[in-house]
Symmetry: none
Subunit: 133 residues, 4 copies
């Protein structure tokens, strides 16, 4: 199973799919050129409607993360080696970071622990960087 979703989550399913794909790319499980399952296939695997998968893929396409080809289906287009971020992206991202970090502080997670966990997560992403070489 490429990815798992939570049907009971308040996060829309298509958003969960999108997030899981992004995480798979970040962790190196998917890299530029990797093919994603067809919408109907993934829909069947996850026991959801293929239209929902379609929406997730369409979102990824709009964000330049995958490309969709009638013949070969969805293919990863951008991975962590694809170069620096487009302008505006980083800024919008930092706003979300700020909200998430504020959340941590208020919930009592210590700043050093926040940074420690962040480092750990980033290393799980980076650790697979040596493998494909």
């Amino acid at each position: 199973m490429l990815l798992t979703i939570d049907l009971d989550s308040e996060v829309p399913i298509y958003q969960q799919i999108r997030d899981r794909v992004v995480e798979a790319i970040a962790s190196g499980d998917l890299e530029a050129g990797s093919a994603l399952p067809s919408t109907r296939q993934l829909g069947a695997d996850l026991a959801i409607n293929f239209h929902t998968v379609n929406k997730a893929y369409d979102l990824l396409r709009q964000q330049g993360i995958i490309r969709i080809n009638r013949k070969s289906g969805a293919v990863v287009r951008r991975d962590r080696r694809s170069g620096p971020p487009e302008p505006g992206i980083a800024q919008e991202w930092e706003e979300r970071l700020r909200t998430l970090l504020a959340e941590a502080v208020v919930q009592g997670i210590r700043p050093d622990e926040v940074l420690g966990r962040s480092s750990a997560v980033l290393e799980t992403f980076a650790s697979s960087e040596e493998l494909p070489t």
Copy 2:
């Protein structure tokens, strides 16, 4: 104006209010015991329905961040000095962290820059720690 919201954002207004309050607590602008504006007051200030403010406050109450009295209104209950997080919270938070960091990696933001920005944001929260009382 205590906080600003974007009526055109895809983020629900009540969620924006909640996030801004959390950020205000994290940055020390609000601390345990501080009173929040009344729902009607804030609704008028933001030119939105006070039911929407109500929903935001209720969400904050459910998450243990504020408490609501019929008399004294909404009061901040938890701030960054309130001790360690509850067990489930930290775990759920880290999942969101993972998604956000994956996003950064895929968009091409370098890991060291991610940590740098995180540190910077955390310092804006911590710096005001000495100031109050």
Copy 3:
């Protein structure tokens, strides 16, 4: 009726809606701030499913032409006074222009006539520019 569509056209209905809205903005029938009909309303008027209208509006939103607000519905965001094009847009547009002009040449429409018709169309867009002032 704000706009008309052709159900038999090979152009997707949602694309037609999008194009008609863009034309209405260009001709001044709609300007920044104008409200569009609700998706269900327009769907009923055009005798099509509201999901199709939804897709058209979503496309317009992605392209920054309208904004969508849960309360007030879809509102025009960008009109001909909204300033210069974003980089990349003009280039992509010129490619489409090149294809369209090639078509005209091959079909035997004379270059001077092409320019004449273009000017005429542009004037119908510009002519309403004095009115709202």
Copy 4:
């Protein structure tokens, strides 16, 4: 290479082939009597299925732009010296022009720049008129 296509474009491949052939005729690279590559040849060159090329050629034939013989293959039939357009064609073309110009206006491209670019493109088509023969 006579023409290039983008496999990832949202524009169907057969449409891209058609458009490129039309542009080649407009620019004088192809003129009435010129032979097009065989469908299998072009399919091999572009690394696509020859059925797709077939579809593009068939479309061009339906539009009176090329003729297809079993013996001599596809031959250009109409170029910019072939006389005035058929009545319905010009009208349908102008509708597409109107949509494209509206797009430019809304995106903020100034009318004079639209006409300037149009003139420039038309000149690249006309300039080669003296060259052949």
